[in-house]
């Protein structure tokens, strides 16, 4: 990732935009943070490296003025989807595209180092070297990257105004994209039921997943918290928790760009993206639709064909 070129691009952009959304150093050497700057003087505070795992596109909908934002390949799909749904206007965003071979999941690193305080984190070749009180640990990037990076099909942004590095071609097999979903599909019905009851059962209903989701448009109107309509009670039961996550999943049907923010944000480490990705998998099979790849598309569930080639009528025995 080319931080120098990014900074140049941002300096050029700044006069013509009201705000720049990029990455800055976080509270410790392992974490990066979203960083909003308005004056060129602060560009040097910005960073760009595999620690920049957040999807900054999510902030676009809340911006009034013209905004420059740094997007990786995966993040760019979110922008495409937002454009497609008319939730942001193309001329109001200036996209700094960053080709990317994968980022680092701080969560995975912390787990790997037993959640000790991080003294330093430096990249060496294909691995990240983390120093803690109990010494140095060398972690191969492939092991500490978010799951999405393992089957990434869009290393280069699909849409951008400036590309700050040479474009990269996808180097992961396309059939690998839904491997995790397929594994669960292969399990028995009971196993799947148990799996989700266990996983969603751990939900503490903090709604971090929803708040982090760049495509959850409802903001304060989320039906998980309204009484009109009154879809959910505050009861802390598995089915209420399940209900919430199914609402989230079904509202993202045909829209989720699989950026994984929900999982990054979840303090309980629930595999939330899997629900949405399962739906994406089916919709791809049904309508050949991949969210966030073409601004001209229409989300498959807000349109129809009179004769659906792939949908057959279900017969009862």
């Amino acid at each position: 990732m080319n931080a120098k070129k990014m900074k140049e691009a941002l300096r050029e952009a700044l006069p013509s935009v009201d705000v720049v959304i990029a990455y800055g150093p976080g509270f410790d050497p392992l974490h990066a943070e979203p960083c909003f700057i308005k004056d060129a003087g602060r560009v040097d505070d910005l960073i760009l490296n595999p620690l920049c795992e957040h999807n900054l596109a999510g902030y676009l909908t809340s911006q009034k003025g013209r905004t420059a934002v740094v997007v990786k390949g995966c993040d760019s799909r979110t922008v495409v989807q937002l454009l497609q749904e008319g939730l942001v206007e193309r001329e109001k965003v200036h996209l700094i595209g960053v080709p990317c071979r994968g980022v680092v999941s701080a969560k995975k690193v912390m787990a790997a180092i037993g959640h000790e305080k991080v003294l330093s984190a430096v990249f060496e070749a294909d691995s990240l070297v983390v120093t803690t009180g109990s010494g140095e640990k060398r972690l191969p990037l492939m092991e500490v990257c978010p799951d999405k990076c393992r089957s990434c099909q869009y290393p280069t942004p699909l849409i951008y105004d400036v590309l700050v590095d040479e474009p990269l071609a996808a180097d992961k097999p396309p059939e690998s994209v839904y491997e995790d979903v397929e594994v669960l599909e292969a399990a028995s019905l009971e196993e799947r039921k148990a799996y989700w009851e266990k996983e969603t059962g751990r939900c503490i209903r903090c709604y971090a997943c929803r708040n982090a989701c760049p495509l959850c448009v409802c903001q304060d109107s989320c039906i998980a918290e309204t009484r009109d309509p009154h879809w959910m009670s505050q009861k802390s039961t598995v089915s209420e928790k399940m209900m919430f996550h199914l609402i989230h999943a079904l509202h993202l049907a045909g829209r989720c760009t699989e950026c994984g923010e929900c999982e990054r944000a979840c303090p309980m480490g629930i595999p939330l993206a899997k629900l949405k990705r399962k739906i994406n998998k089916d919709l791809k099979d049904l309508f050949g639709y991949v969210p966030g790849t073409s601004p001209e598309d229409r989300p498959p569930l807000s349109t129809f064909r009179v004769d659906e080639e792939r949908i057959e009528e279900h017969k009862l025995p």
Binding site: V181, L184, E185, L189, E190, E191, R192, K193, A194, Y195, W196, E197, G201, W231, T237, V238, S239, M242, M243, L246, I247, A249, L250, A253, G254, L275, K278, I279, D282, L283, L286, F287, P300, L301, S302, F304, R305, V306, E308, I311, E313, H314, L316, P317
Partner: protein, 144 residues
Amino acid sequence: MPDVGERELRIVGFLCNWCSYGGADTAGVGRFKQPTDLRIIRVPCSGRVDPLFVVKALLSGADGVLVSGCHPRDCHYSDGNFYARRRLEMLKRFLPFIGLDERRFHYTWISASEGQRWQQTVTAFTRQIHELGPLARAEEALSL
């Protein structure tokens, strides 16, 4: 014939007012014998049926859910059932992923004149739900 024996199970039917609800009426007027498990919720159009209603019902105590609308091209609101078809098909494929047997959810098209078809559908679906038995609730599963 429609007698499925055993204790009744909880089956919710979302029927569009113009076709399928009328079909159920026609079946009644024709005195077509039907199992009694199914309870009917009248909606204006199958397009009104948010897949989340089906999920909600299944999560809160229903053993089966049936959705029926006008035949494609014959929707009273012209396109409602076209949207329903896509959404419900998506749901039918999704349910098994979270451990809900897809046979507990069925969607179909029945016109106001098809009393017989309604009788056959409700009978077959009720039998199917009885074959699957009551749906084990998450709470029960969790109860420590």
